[in-house]
């Protein structure tokens, strides 16, 4: 009933038009009736109407007055109450400050996290109709072990482009780096390589010049390039005459045809240049998959329809496209390649989703704990104001009035906390983003926008209502009111109050335990990751640089390999460098290509999926990967056509029983390829990241790449030196490289130690944040326990002193308090364990090497909370017991 009334008032305020309409209709009826009356008394019609109008007065004024009756009364009262409550709060500055600060921190953290979630997960990609953009990823249920999201290839691109009934357009793209020479030093920049359809598919137009057309990228024609806005500004100062200028990219001139708009969030990490690719139909084989595909769905087409269309097209591809030499039709069929198209946004965000929601969940729990703490403070305050409330009640204030006053106060506190929170969130967001930079898609914009503001406002009000409800329930209850009214300070009233505060302790302890367990699981995950043998040692003393040989130095093969050997030798001569080697791929980054290998010893079994990379002699020595059997490569292996390989220990162990037994065994990519002899076995290396098992790996000499007619132009050079990471070393490296050729840019500068850290960056980041949240929860929980115990001690000390005077030992008294104080803590821990299990399930994908229900973590977290509580209870009791009881007992009762 009351709600209906308020609802009507609210509606009247929000939609005055409707009410005014009603009133205007009613008043015009009145005028009409009056006019009739006057006319029947003989007045002419015009005059009658005028008179009637005049008598009624201004119609609008009437309408307003009618509406104001309802509004002004309630608004006046609300404003009066707000003023009253605000004055009350300023009279208790310490209370107000601590509540607003606690809330500000908790809501601020929640708001900052939410703004990341809003920007990364909720906000659509800023392309027109971006919900129609899909990433062309695939699944191979028949080939377990192959990554979930299999990308695209020219064969798929041609198939989808030519046969689709659901796509508006299809584009193929990938990223790598490009060596750009504008003036002076060559520079290695991140590059996006894409078919010309990419920009139309995304719906992006250049701000300057033109976009690519079907003629760009065609071999034999002048080569072209587009620049991103950032690169154009940074490198060319935003020069408007950039269009038409020629840049040397990878040794060949490219004409700049266009500049992209400033906002171009594609792909996840920013790029500097876009270079057109033009897949050749005659070389489109089914098999190699290295590019990625994106498509725009036709209007009204669903993802499921697109997938169904994709299945149809894959069977067309099977019939029309040739197979790569190393893949058989039987194997292709066994893999059961099928479309698994996903919204583009989803592939951008990836598994960040889980991390963010876990963070959001834990921070919300922290907010709840903060609310519980504040409810506690409010209860204490309401106690102190018991008399005031009793007076109000005695003067006839209804329960509703008192409840409204209390709720108004907490809501006001909530809003004040929210305001502080917004300031805090605004200040901390850049810090949060900087810390998480390696994990967030850099091209996605995160800011405090309207949605975040609405969120902050709602949780501020919600928090105010949540922690305000408890005092309301207690003090507006008729029984309590009677108690206060009749005997404001009886023992039973304080027991009542005590029960409420004890239940708060249960809530706080339970929630704190959930967060401590979450932090504990992350600590265990971190430990497990640190314990993983990566397959190399002392990574901080290994400098990595990426050197890309320009196209015209990559062939003939002898020239290419001579250049690589030159580079290795010059770099070895750099002072302080112990050894140098290179590889076509980095470890830990899941970047290696893999392919099938058939074993001579097991002709009947299906091919093994083996990751392969090209490596120079000395790599294992440089990385300190131990050679378990056989020998390392030498340069002869790279020049000769004799096919040799070094394999990982896990593979050797599994297939041949021991590393030594693998030496001399042979394997090959397909029945048409020559046999490759195993000449060495090395320790497993975690190529796919620390949390992934070490893949079966084959290390091959560069000569093997001849078979693919694609020498790896870009290689990672590893320098074992105590000077790793210094600018002086880089200067020396630069000199050494330019002594081989001045057209080889240096990129990807980092130490192996940094690579190692960044491979566990997400875990470290989650651990850091959960660690902070967990410690805050523990602190708040303990503060809650302390507050209750202290008031309990204060209340019962007289009784206790009397006991002591009559000979009760201190230990017995301490036990008494411990028993009473620990009861709610133990209940809280029990409840919290159940909550922790729920959160741990949500966290499962973030964990490594520890079960979500890891008993040790749960036990230790419980012990930690219990231990902290025991100390918290013991301290105030001990302090109270130190006072000489006789003196206090003999003192006049206060």
């Amino acid at each position: 009933m009351r709600i209906m009334l308020w609802w009507r008032r609210l509606r009247n305020t929000l939609r005055p038009g409707r009410l005014e309409d009603d009133i205007a209709r009613e008043l015009s009826f009145h005028v009409a009736e009056r006019t009739d009356d006057l006319r029947s008394n003989g007045m002419p019609e015009d005059e009658a109407r005028q008179r009637a109008r005049r008598q009624l007065g201004n119609v609008t004024l009437q309408a307003e007055r009618a509406r104001d009756v309802e509004l002004s009364a309630s608004i006046d009262r609300l404003l009066r109450e707000v003023r009253l409550v605000a004055r009350g709060l300023t009279r208790a500055p310490r209370f107000t400050a601590s509540v607003v600060a606690t809330l500000g921190i908790a809501i601020g953290a929640t708001t900052a996290t939410f703004s990341v979630i809003s920007g990364v997960l909720i906000e659509p990609l800023p392309f027109p109709d971006s919900d129609r953009l899909v990433a062309l990823v695939h699944r191979t249920p028949g080939a377990p072990g192959v990554a979930e999201d299999v990308a695209a290839s020219p064969a798929l691109y041609f198939t989808y482009r030519d046969h689709s009934r659901t796509f508006e357009s299809v584009a193929l793209w990938f990223t790598n780096t490009a060596a750009v020479t504008a003036a002076g030093e060559p520079e290695e920049v991140p590059a996006l390589r894409a078919t010309w359809e990419l920009l139309p598919t995304l719906g992006v137009r250049p701000v300057l010049g033109r976009a690519f057309t079907a003629n760009d990228g065609v071999p034999g024609r002048p080569q072209t390039v587009m620049l991103t806005h950032g690169y154009w500004q940074r490198r060319f100062g935003g020069a408007p005459d950039i269009i038409g200028r020629s840049l040397i990219i990878g040794g060949a001139p490219h004409e700049v045809v266009g500049v992209l708009p400033a906002q171009f969030p594609f792909p996840q990490q920013p790029v500097d240049v876009i270079i057109p690719i033009w897949p050749v139909r005659a070389q489109a084989y089914i098999g190699p998959i290295g590019e990625r595909g994106v498509a725009r769905l036709q209007e009204g087409v669903t993802l499921d329809e697109a997938r169904a269309d994709g299945r149809r097209m894959l069977s067309i591809m099977r019939e029309t496209m040739p197979l790569a030499p190393w893949i058989s039709r039987a194997r292709l069929d066994a893999m059961r390649l099928e479309p698994n198209f996903k919204p583009l946004k989803e592939t951008f965000v990836g598994d960040l989703r889980d991390t963010l929601w876990v963070l959001m969940a834990t921070i919300s729990v922290l907010l709840l704990i903060a609310c519980a703490n504040i409810a506690n403070l409010l209860l204490v305050r309401a106690d102190a104001r018991g008399h005031e409330i009793a007076v109000q009640s005695a003067l006839g204030a209804s329960r509703a009035t008192i409840a409204r006053g209390l709720l108004l106060e907490s809501t006001l506190l909530g809003l004040a906390g929210g305001a502080v929170a917004l300031l805090l969130a605004k200040a901390t967001l850049p810090v949060l983003l900087a810390v998480a930079a390696s994990e967030l898609p850099a091209t996605i914009d995160v800011s405090i926008d309207g949605r975040v503001l609405v969120f902050a406002l709602s949780i501020s009000v919600a928090a105010g209502v949540i922690f305000g409800l408890l005092p309301v329930l207690k003090f507006a209850a008729p029984r309590t009111l009677a108690l206060i009214r009749d005997a404001p300070r009886t023992h039973s009233a304080s027991r009542e109050r005590h029960r409420a505060r004890t239940s708060l302790v249960v809530v706080q302890v339970a929630l704190a335990l959930v967060l401590v367990v979450a932090a504990g699981l992350m600590i265990r995950t971190f430990q497990s990751l640190r314990r993983v043998e990566p397959g190399f040692a002392a990574p901080a003393a290994v400098q990595i640089v990426r050197l890309s040989v320009p196209q015209n130095m990559a062939s003939p093969f002898e020239r290419f390999i001579r250049t690589q050997q030159d580079l290795q030798e010059r770099l070895s001569a750099v002072p302080g460098v112990e050894s140098v080697a290179f590889a076509s791929r980095l470890p830990l980054t899941a970047s290696g290509p893999s392919g099938p290998f058939l074993l001579e010893s097991r002709p009947d079994t299906p091919a093994l999926d083996v990751e392969f990379r090209y490596v120079s002699p000395g790599l294992f020595e440089t990385l300190r990967t131990s050679v378990r059997a056989g020998r390392d490569f030498d340069w002869d292996d790279h020049y000769s056509t004799r096919q040799v390989a070094i394999i990982s220990a896990g593979l050797a162990q599994r297939e041949w029983g021991s590393p030594a037994a693998a030496i001399g065994k042979r394997m090959r990519r397909s029945a048409r390829e020559p046999w490759v002899e195993v000449i060495g076995v090395v320790d497993d290396v975690r190529h796919d990241g620390l949390e992934q098992p070490a893949p079966d790996t084959a290390y091959l000499p560069l000569s093997e790449s001849l078979a693919l007619r694609a020498a790896p132009q870009t290689n990672y050079f590893f320098l074992r030196t105590h000077r790793a990471g210094t600018a002086a070393l880089l200067a020396d490296v630069s000199t050494a490289v330019s002594s081989v050729s001045d057209r080889i840019p240096i990129g990807g500068v980092q130490t192996l130690g940094e690579l190692y850290s960044s491979s566990i960056a997400r875990t470290s980041l989650t651990l850091l944040l959960l660690g902070i949240i967990g410690s805050m929860a523990l602190l708040l929980g303990v503060i809650g326990v302390y507050a209750v115990i202290r008031s309990m001690v204060a209340q019962r000390m007289r009784e206790v002193w009397i006991r002591i005077v009559f000979g009760a030992p201190h230990a017995a008294v301490t036990r008494l308090f411990l028993r009473q104080g620990l009861r709610p803590v133990i209940i809280g821990v029990t409840v919290g364990l159940a909550g922790a299990v729920a959160l741990a399930r949500l966290m499962e994908s973030l964990l490594f090497g520890v079960a979500p229900l890891d008993p040790l973590t749960y036990a230790l977290s419980s012990v930690l909370l219990l231990g902290a509580s025991v100390v918290t209870i013991y301290l105030p009791v001990r302090r109270a017991l130190r006072v000489d009881p006789m003196r206090l007992c003999l003192r006049d009762p206060a």
């Binding site: 209709r25 009613e26 009826f29 009145h30 009739d36 004024l61 009437q62 009756v69």
Partner: protein, 111 residues
């Protein structure tokens, strides 16, 4: 300045309206003014400016309810009726009024 004699005394308007509606189940605003004016033999006159806000307030307090209808002259009009709550309020106000007039009468007689 002495009040004009036919202005309805502040606070009594509700009483008059409730009383009118208590004996006439369904009336529109204009009928209520005419009725009060007639019954009081033109002694009391209801300001239109006060009547409608008062009607709305009383409706929101739950003393009246209203609905749109058509008069005999086929005009759209808002008709008011008294509710049970309104009748209780009427009883209370009648009592207050009686005591007030009694009190005022005594003062006038004996003061």
């Amino acid at each position: 300045m002495p009040q004009r004699k036919n202005d309805v005394l502040q606070g009594t308007l509700a009483l008059l309206v409730l009383r009118t509606l208590a004996s006439h189940p369904r009336m529109h605003g204009y009928a209520i003014t005419s009725h009060i004016q007639q019954v009081s033999a033109d002694l009391l006159r209801v300001e239109e400016g006060s009547l409608y806000p008062a009607l709305h307030r009383m409706e929101h307090q739950g003393w009246l309810r209203s609905e749109w209808g058509v008069t005999e002259k086929n005009r759209d009009a808002r008709f008011y009726a008294i509710t049970a709550k309104g009748r209780r309020q009427l009883a209370a106000e009648e009592e207050t009024w009686a005591r007030l007039t009694d009190g005022v009468g005594r003062v006038l007689r004996y003061a």
